[in-house]
């Protein structure tokens, strides 16, 4: 998956995000050092970094598009293609493996009707296996955007999928900082 540099497509980014990018460029010690947070601003709004986003950062940060593409593809969380609405990332590293990540993945595969690494035909769910999420004592776990669901069981996963199908993202334990 290499990022496209085709500039033909329309690129829209809110004024809030554009202002945030200017703020970051001013805050970081060099323009180039603001690249990661600026990519995050675009990711957070659009869910991926389209070619127009690369062009914008070439302009704002005075770095080459080659450099931006290099960074975009090095880090697994930056995406250069649109994503499924809900990307379910299940940890399959050692601690979660010991606590039952594989049966959990099998359960998800069955429920979603896709294999690990695939997206449902309606583009709603993607199922990915990821490395350690830093929830080792709370496994098995999965991540959905910034929500980390821990201590998972097949029943909990079913509840999660049900909510998502209704368009609701259930509260995760790690969401508490948003509330206080």
């Amino acid at each position: 998956m290499s990022p496209s540099t085709d500039t033909g497509a329309a690129f829209e980014l809110s004024d809030v995000s554009r202002a945030r990018i200017d703020e970051l460029v001013a805050q970081y010690p060099t323009k180039a050092s603001a690249l990661m947070p600026c990519l995050w601003v675009i990711m957070d709004e659009l869910g991926w970094v389209p070619p127009g986003g690369i062009d914008l950062l070439v302009d704002k940060l005075q770095v080459t598009s080659a450099r931006i593409c290099e960074v975009l593809t090095f880090y697994t969380m930056f995406r250069s293609e649109p994503q499924a609405e809900y990307v379910l990332q299940v940890c399959h590293n050692i601690s979660c493996h010991i606590m039952g990540a594989r049966p959990l993945i099998a359960h998800l595969e069955k429920r979603l009707g896709v294999r690990l690494g695939e997206t449902t035909p309606d583009g709603k769910f993607a199922l990915e296996g990821v490395e350690c999420l830093g929830a080792c004592g709370h496994g098995p776990c999965l991540q959905l955007g910034r929500h980390l669901y821990e201590y998972l069981t097949p029943e909990k996963v079913d509840g999660l999928l049900e909510s998502l199908r209704r368009g609701e993202i259930p509260r995760a334990d790690t969401d508490r900082e948003l509330e206080d």
């Binding site: 990661m36 601690s95 080792c136 709370h138 900082e177």
Partner: protein, 435 residues
């Protein structure tokens, strides 16, 4: 000794209000910073106190923190400080507790550490998967700015410090200190050759100190209570307390603060409550996935400190303790780990890029029923071609578990091969397959 006896680092763990500035201050927070900046401790005195406390880096390597600070050239005027909250070592989830439940402790420790090395800008580099934690820490940093603990002329001392919370984007290798620094310059997070060491030439080619979250979080206690009080915990060479994050089927997994030197047996039986119902202890990876595994009978007679674990043939590492039950197949587990290192190799060094791939493919083939007796020698041979031959220690981090799994649990590997050897006595590995 019980878990509640040691709260140098973990006093606010598990509480719902410990992350708030007012709560932290009410419980003595930012007193150490006042002592340094208002009672006029010199940089030298702060460094000496931390050196005297015997604090060793908690990120994995265990290098003495105060000594590292001393490597910054005295005449340097542009110095950077990085708090390493990349926490991606499988089995490790302690820094997350520190930042989630008690972010101000780490912020205070960072400000004092920055003062000690005369840094003007600090980054807290948090792994991208901890998006929720980034917001938590940013909020605390904002509070600290508003209270005058950060920014210009902190507490009227004339010392200026800015702090940026930087979010990673998914790359284990960014936890390696030079990878971390390169990442923040807006590049791929690939490590650089050392020397030059970051303390001399790091971020933007300026002197840069990288410390783990737990290392800086230990600093306020040392400043408040003094080096001697800190050294009262632990052993002669492994001073203080250390967080262990425990995963696997024990009765009470979680993050524990222990005095270094605690016998594993006591920790396991009394603190963790032993194995969960129906499970039996088989082995333990004591310091994160990159350190050698120890079978139950070996770990049971070891103490939890740098020296004892070294003598037992493993390392304290990050304190990410992975408890493995009898019900687990060791070859399966090493396949999971080799997949991880293969995935995370940044690809710069041939021995690491190719070696991790070989190890993964060989183990996978063994499990797929296509292994030969020569494969075990081959695994060792590949390990020999990786260890110590690369830019950063990721290659060694893969070799250490691989070798120790082979060494300590060889019969499990052999059993896999014998099954297949009986069924298909000819080699199932045509020479051309390794590409």
């Amino acid at each position: 000794m019980t878990p509640n006896d040691y709260t140098m680092l973990s006093a606010r763990f598990g509480r719902s209000d410990g992350h708030k500035l007012a709560v932290y201050e009410a419980e003595g927070g930012y007193r150490a910073l006042r002592k340094v900046l208002q009672d006029g401790m010199s940089r030298e005195e702060v460094r000496e106190e931390v050196k005297g406390a015997g604090l060793r880096g908690r990120g994995g390597a265990g290098f003495p923190t105060g000594v590292k600070w001393g490597f910054v050239p005295p005449d340097a005027d542009e110095i950077y400080f990085f708090v390493n909250a990349d926490e991606s070592e499988p089995g490790t989830f302690k820094d997350r507790y520190l930042l989630d439940y008690d972010p101000h402790q780490t912020i205070e420790g960072t400000i004092i550490s920055c003062f000690a090395v005369k840094a003007k800008l600090a980054f807290i580099y948090i792994r991208g998967e901890f998006g929720w934690l980034v917001d938590r820490v940013q909020k605390a940093v904002d509070e600290a700015y508003a209270a005058g603990y950060l920014g210009k002329d902190i507490l009227g001392s004339g010392y200026d410090l800015e702090m940026i919370v930087h979010k990673g984007a998914g790359a284990y290798i960014c936890g390696e200190e030079t990878g971390l620094i390169n990442s923040v310059t807006g590049r791929k997070g690939q490590p650089s050759i050392k020397p030059p060491f970051p303390a001399v030439q790091g971020f933007l080619d300026k002197p840069t100190i990288v410390n783990n979250v737990e290392s800086v979080a230990s600093v306020p206690f040392i400043i408040n209570e003094g080096a001697a009080a800190y050294k009262a915990f632990g052993t002669e060479k492994s001073c203080g307390t250390k967080l262990f994050s425990v995963s696997g089927p024990v009765k009470r997994p979680g993050v524990y603060e222990i005095p270094l030197g605690l016998p594993f047996r006591e920790f396991f039986n009394d603190w963790l409550g032993g194995m969960a119902e129906g499970e039996k202890l088989k082995a333990v990876i004591v310091g994160g996935s990159s350190v050698p595994v120890l079978p139950a009978e070996e770990i049971m007679n070891t103490n939890l400190d740098y020296e004892s674990l070294g003598e037992a043939g493993t390392m304290l590492g990050s304190g990410g303790m992975i408890v493995i039950p009898e019900s687990c197949d060791m070859v399966e587990l090493i396949q999971v780990l080799m997949h991880f290192y293969f995935d995370e190799s940044c690809g710069q060094c041939t021995p690491c890029r190719e070696g991790t791939g070989w190890l993964h493919r060989i183990v996978k083939r063994l499990r797929g029923g296509g292994g030969t007796p020569e494969d075990l020698d081959l695994l060792e041979h590949v390990c020999d071609g990786m260890a110590g031959l690369t830019i950063c220690p990721l290659a060694d981090a893969a070799v250490m578990p691989m070798r120790s799994f082979l060494d300590k649990f060889r019969p499990e590997f052999e059993a896999l091969i014998q099954e297949t050897a009986a069924a298909a006595p000819t080699s199932r590995w045509p020479r051309g397959e390794q590409e």
